[in-house]
Amino acid sequence: MGKTLLQVEHLRTYFHTFRGVVKAVDDISFSLDEGQVLGIVGESGSGKSVTSFSILKLVESPGVVQSQRILFNGEDISRKNEKEMMKIRGKDIAMVFQDPMTSLNPLYTIEKQITEMLDLHQKGMSHKEKRERCIQLLHMVGIPNPEDRLKSYPHQFSGGMRQRVIIAIALAANPKLIIADEPTTALDVTIQAQILNLMDRLVKEQNASLILITHDLAVVSQMADRVIVMYCGKIVESGSRDDVIRRASHPYTVGLLNSIPRISEEQDRLESIPGMVPSMLDLPQGCYFAPRCKYCQEICRTQAPVDQTVGEGHTVCCHFPLKGGD
């Protein structure tokens, strides 16, 4: 294992609304090693995207981010001001957003948009060098005839191609960490496979780390080294890919895995999780998952569970963790 690149300690992001405080991210801690791929999984509203915005300080009012420490490359970035963060965003930590249709500026050519990154973070490049770097980046992400496409505008590209351009922009300043928020959710499966393979290859080639945020357990199981499962702003389970996918211990993780129809098996009925995610303004007492949990007992309704270690590097936040994948 390489050395730790990112260490998030006791991160809390609360949104103060008129109807009450929404604890979108509630006291979570995790770390990421160099060269590692971390998958953050959860359903909509579980706080997985807010986690990444919080790390980059992109949360806007009424959101308030608090944390004990966020160590990035040995430096605490949680205390940095906006100006210092500007130097980190894009250069050291780059982000790939979900919607390839809206995350590029429709008024600028893609050359302009890639060069903007170079101007900001790799100063002193000549015009020719910048152009060559653009071509090299576009070539790297698999855009055919990059020389001809430099002057194209985003609307001239398809969804998959735009996502490649966005990845090229993210890679422009050789970041150490890439945060990809649902990078393939808007894409078709065959294009998704292309983009995932591309990201997998580039992360290895550039020796960067990747945080992959997705709702799709199948994508995570193919890409990630470590997996975090979030529910209602809390981490309910974390561990290596095999721990979480094959030896899931939290009833919620097990429920999620059972909800996915298996291509390789014949099933009559899907084992679904009953009920739905509670409102973030009206969370149940005790364990947040208790009302939907089929193993729920008295203590679950009154007392919030704490993290338990069930294996090496495999922790579960549950009073009664399940054993060995069932």
Binding site: S158, A193, L196, A218, L256
Partner: protein
């Protein structure tokens, strides 16, 4: 078993240049008239037996939703024939279509957009019942609506709420209840679970399967998610650029896909059962524009096995094995290259 729906040689096109001015193009120093037509559905044929779930799968833009919308006559077909329970409904007038519409209902993809935000749930459900005169009085219609609401897992108290007071999964339940309100025989479900979270997806799929048994329904199911489709269907058609490239019973299709596109699609779908990204079957390039369709086999410029003849002639659907239809020049020939490519998913 009788046949509930038969679609023969369906063609659907959209003219992007209906206005004469749009057709006039200025090119190479001279004016010319150009017509741009989107070939959304090209010669699609399939049939659905009573009590069967037939699914159309494919990527976005392959024409699966357009096929569904044309079958239920939300869009007028360009040519072809649509037979519902043996009756030709291809060119029926709207007035004569109404009794048929009661028999075929649709569940839409987006539960946020498909319910009227200004109607209470109870009104959403009673309106079609009263319109088709399926209840003697308003009270009887309401009673029926509440029964349906409870049947899809909502409570009677919730019937006086408006759609915005429900979550996506609950709204989709309302959409299902509305489709069932007029006692249909046949339901077209256009991506009914793709907008929902995984745990809610499983709940909705289970409801759809239970209702099918209870009300004796047949489904035309449209989806892009292979695992969902595999779970719910009896037979499937795989679509690419507006044509069905392969059509077979579920087991045969998943065990032994024969069309190179089906194989690529299957291998691209991520599964939690395998650890590694599959590198081998990755498709090159993207779907060509449906305005300028490729010559010959529509898939030939992305196909790893393409031969010269593929660019020349368009392959027709052939029955390669019993009930297993493939539109590929190479499939089915003894020891052909197409068969040697791995891509099957073991059952």
């Amino acid at each position: 078993m009788s046949r509930i729906l038969q679609v023969e040689d369906l063609i659907q096109e959209f003219d992007l240049t209906q206005d004469l001015l749009d057709r006039i193009k200025f090119k190479h120093g001279r004016f010319s008239v150009e017509q741009q037509v989107v070939h959304a559905v090209n010669h699609v044929s399939f049939e659905i037996e009573e009590g069967e779930v037939f699914s159309l799968v494919g990527e976005s833009g392959c024409g699966k939703s357009t096929t569904a919308r044309t079958v239920i006559r939300l869009q007028e077909p360009k040519s072809g024939r649509i037979l519902f329970e043996g009756q030709d409904i291809t060119h029926r007038k709207l007035k004569d279509l109404r009794p048929i519409r009661r028999q075929m209902q649709m569940i839409f993809q987006d539960p946020y957009a498909s319910l009227n935000p200004r109607q209470k749930v109870l009104d959403i459900l009673t309106e079609p019942i009263l319109f088709h005169k399926l209840a003697p009085s308003k009270a009887a219609a309401e009673e029926k609506a509440i029964y349906l609401l409870e049947r899809v897992g909502l409570s009677a108290e919730q019937s006086n709420r408006y759609p915005h007071q429900f979550s996506g999964g609950q709204r989709q339940r309302i959409g299902i209840a509305r489709a069932l309100a007029v006692e249909p025989k046949f339901i077209i479900a256009d991506e009914p679970v793709s907008a929902l979270d995984v745990s809610i997806q499983a709940q909705i799929l289970n409801i759809l399967m239970d209702l099918k048994d209870e009300f004796g329904l047949s489904y035309l199911f449209i989806a892009h998610d292979l695992s969902v489709v595999k779970h719910i269907s009896d037979r499937l058609g795989v679509m690419y650029l507006g044509t069905i490239v392969e059509r077979a019973p579920k087991r045969q299709l998943f065990q032994k896909p024969l069309h190179p596109y089906t194989k690529a699609l299957f291998s691209a779908a991520p599964t939690i059962d395998e650890n590694k990204l599959s590198q081998s079957q990755e498709l090159k390039g993207e779907i060509p524009s449906p305005i300028h369709l490729p010559s010959g086999c529509l898939f030939h410029d992305r196909c790893p096995l393409a031969r010269p003849e593929c660019a020349q002639t368009m392959p027709q659907l052939r029955e390669v094995e019993p009930e297993h239809f493939v539109a590929c020049h190479l499939a089915g020939a003894e020891g052909s290259a197409a068969d040697s490519v791995k891509g099957g998913i073991c059952l």
